[in-house]
Assembly symmetry: C2
Homo-oligomer: 492 residues x 2
């Protein structure tokens, strides 16, 4: 199938940028860099079962994991990172908080790669299609993690009685929380950062993500929001004739010809939508080397081009300002010399777009829309029929929009315990997060001035006090779990 951006469904774009793990391209972070970061980390493999819930097939695959024992002492806890939808090295190199926690807890760290991503691909990494993909589900991934933990406990001397804490961010944060819900005898608790576990079904309005992103821009500058909102209609007008489209192509430096056959208005808009929301998700206080490099507070930086109403004498002026704003995301260092290929994934190659699209087309259906009124975008309703058609076309699979709620219980978390749900208030995904504790046994941490799982990143001098405090609180809670577990319960 084509790039996510070319899918009819805008959600795919969302999903493409779903996990905004800051970090270089994957080629930069493997092998040597990993060793440089932590000399006691090793890359290992585990023979994993393809299917944990039936005996129809005996297939196995090699699941990669990274194990770091520098600060661990026998009996000490295991911090287990439940890998997301991408190459595990991306998470190893962008979850600095775990490496800061480890010495304080004498903890071992394990990062497990999610099945079908990175190098942990079943069927010997053969083509990903409707024949090979069907075992790519979160339930199977959780069973993988459970199986690996049991394997580690059985084979590493001194680990048998160790309490295990699941940690993850974004989709990995969902998995960490679900791990605690489904396998509480395996993990004594979970740190679930920026995990929109309520994004399924109709638990929240479908433009919640867009509304929070809009709010971020509004805080930077209300005029900025108005400008962006106006831009979509102007764009639509320009799109009506070839001259207008050519103007857009030239002034936005798009590689492709804009002609409604190859690149539709919807595609062009999604490319912009992606840039705006990506900046909101990763609106960090200091410059970061994402899949694309960005300045600190990128939303503010983008809005600087969009907040001077007087300078927009014509529609063209306004669109040129939009181009400058979006370039903060797509071309901050001027790295794009010639033109923007808007069919490129906006998240680079480290995240598995095809695989994630499959998950979104099967069990993890997250309704997504914008209305252009309560958000700064344009009218783009959630259309389940189109969604189903697209999924059928690409993967011959039928989405089950209620599966995730059925399997994981939706908002009803009252029976669960020992989960920290942390959310940055700037993060558009926080709208699908747990921001109200259902009981005392679940901890909710809301972080001012923080975007998508800032708390899991390494400490930085420019961190807001809120995230410094959040990290301290997280460690304190986890310490308490470990003490309680060590004193009372019986382990594997």
């Amino acid at each position: 199938m084509g790039r996510s951006l070319y899918s009819f469904l805008s959600l795919f774009l969302h999903l493409g940028v779903f996990c905004a793990w800051p970090g270089g391209l994957i080629s930069k972070v493997q092998g040597r860099d990993l060793k440089a970061k932590n000399s006691l980390c090793d890359v290992k493999h585990f023979t994993q079962k393809l299917d944990h819930f039936s005996f129809a097939r005996n297939d196995t695959f090699r699941q990669r994991y990274v194990i770091c024992q520098e600060h661990w002492s026998s009996g000490g806890p295991l911090l287990f990172y439940t890998g997301n939808e991408g190459d595990i090295m991306l998470f190893v190199n962008n979850t600095g908080f775990l490496f800061e926690m480890a010495p304080q807890l004498n903890a071992m760290i394990v990062f497990a790669e999610h099945r079908y991503y990175g190098q942990s691909i079943p069927f010997d990494g053969k083509t990903l299609n409707s024949t090979t993909l069907p075992w790519l589900t979160s339930t199977q991934a959780l069973a993988d993690y459970n199986y690996i933990i049991h394997h580690l406990k059985r084979t590493i001397p001194g680990l048998k009685q160790s309490p295990v804490v699941a940690v993850g961010g974004s989709y990995g944060g969902m998995l960490a929380a679900w791990m605690r819900m489904k396998y509480p005898a395996t993990v004594i608790g979970a740190l679930s950062s920026s995990a929109p576990i309520l994004q399924f079904g109709n638990q929240i309005p479908c433009n919640t993500f867009a509304k929070i992103a809009t709010q971020d821009y509004k805080m930077a500058s209300p005029v900025c929001v108005d400008t962006i909102r106006r831009s979509w209609t102007i764009m639509e007008d320009f799109w009506k004739d070839q001259a207008g489209r050519d103007w857009l192509k030239d002034n936005f430096r798009v590689c492709q010809i804009l002609d409604d056959r190859k690149v539709k208005l919807a595609d062009f808009r999604l490319w912009l939508f992606s840039g705006w929301t990506y900046m909101a998700m990763t609106d960090y206080p200091y410059p970061t080397e994402f899949l694309k490099p960005m300045p600190g507070w990128p939303v503010k930086a983008a809005c600087q081009h969009l907040s001077d109403l007087c300078s927009f004498k014509t529609d063209r002026d306004l669109l040129i300002a939009v181009y400058k704003g979006i370039s903060v995301y797509y071309n901050y260092t001027g790295q794009v010399k010639d033109c923007f290929n808007i069919s490129d994934s906006s998240t680079g190659t480290a995240l598995g777009d095809t695989q994630w699209d499959y998950q979104a087309c099967s069990e993890l259906v997250m309704p997504d829309c914008t209305d252009g009124k309560t958000d700064m975008f344009y009218y783009r309703p959630w259309n389940i029929s189109e969604y189903n058609r697209e999924c059928h076309k690409n993967f011959a699979v039928k989405p089950d929009p209620s599966l995730a709620i059925r399997e994981y219980g939706g908002r009803d978390l009252v029976a669960h315990s020992n989960i920290i749900f942390s959310n940055g208030k700037l993060d558009p995904w926080s709208g699908g997060g747990v921001i109200k504790a259902p009981s005392k046994r679940i901890k909710v941490i809301l972080i001012d001035d923080a975007a998508h799982h800032l708390d899991l990143r390494s400490s930085h001098p420019d961190d807001p006090q809120s995230v410094v405090y959040a990290r301290k609180k997280e460690i304190a809670i986890i310490k308490k779990w470990i003490i309680t577990a060590t004193n009372s319960a019986e382990y594997l």
Copy 2:
């Protein structure tokens, strides 16, 4: 494959008698009898997914369930029976306690048939073999129950907000407990009666079952235990020559020729072992119509033939006494006119022996042995290699002895809540049950003078006070859960 009894592995025999649901043959309890019992019960069907955890197949099957609404009023709770390894009608007609609870709670009752049993057989009920059976797992069965409950809530007006309590006995009791553990947003609690969830791996010694059965006989008469224990060696001596085997055949009225080719000593012994332990499991205080009719306190009745040492002048005398004792189980009303077919299932046709053997050969491996020293049986060690060979031969499947502990957490229940584990102290399966509460949120009820899930049966004038009290306590706890749930939590 042959009858369970002919399997090499004695565990199969155990499993054959695993769920001693008292009741007539299935032909007696269907249709009309059900209606007679409760005029507002209906038999319905639900289109169920074959595989809940991958998208490899779209197959579905018709899952049968029985729904009883006589005492239900809108918003009232749902008591959901998590069907075991047999025809659901057997459980409908032998779980009288639910029908006694319903009017007290204004509850609806649903009995769901377990996949692959009774009439809920995938692939249109085609032959059960290694190609059709692989989706017969407890994890899939739990997902079935979860799916049905969501379906009922969506389609029955007034049920949406109703709290659901899972109820089950024996393997059904395991499923009820596991349902609460895996889907706590779906069921607010579980009554798990006589559920040996610790029977897996090496959590308990493999002859625990046999030791408790022995204890039951000892309480009836210590001499009885000695007599039974002596009988195995004598039998072995008799078995050595054809004359001895013929004597056994004639005096135990066995249909088959005993010749070490067709019927081995091991088979003959297992037939007896089955009878003794079956009586211990169902040592109820009043006469019951099981798959075979029995007097009240059958263990005591059997021991009456085995407790007069002076009458055993010869080995033959002792074996004849054994024959009389075992006849309490196999021929209490003299219903066997000609001879005993020891290859018949000892539990009749309502339980699915083949299917259960498959489950025991894949995910639910329960080590089983006897030693003849701490129990009243004979030396029969747990032999995993033989077990694996037999499973491979019959089903081309490899047992995974640690799967159940991995999936359900074994003894580590500290994170769970709202489960009542009830066990009768006479029940040999109670050794694998939860008899010590891991926390205040889990309730343990031990019932004196009670065998396998006596508490789930209808009240009876001869019930011991202990079970009368246990049932009251169970209702009180469930009422409390319902009140708490109704007052606080948010439902599906």
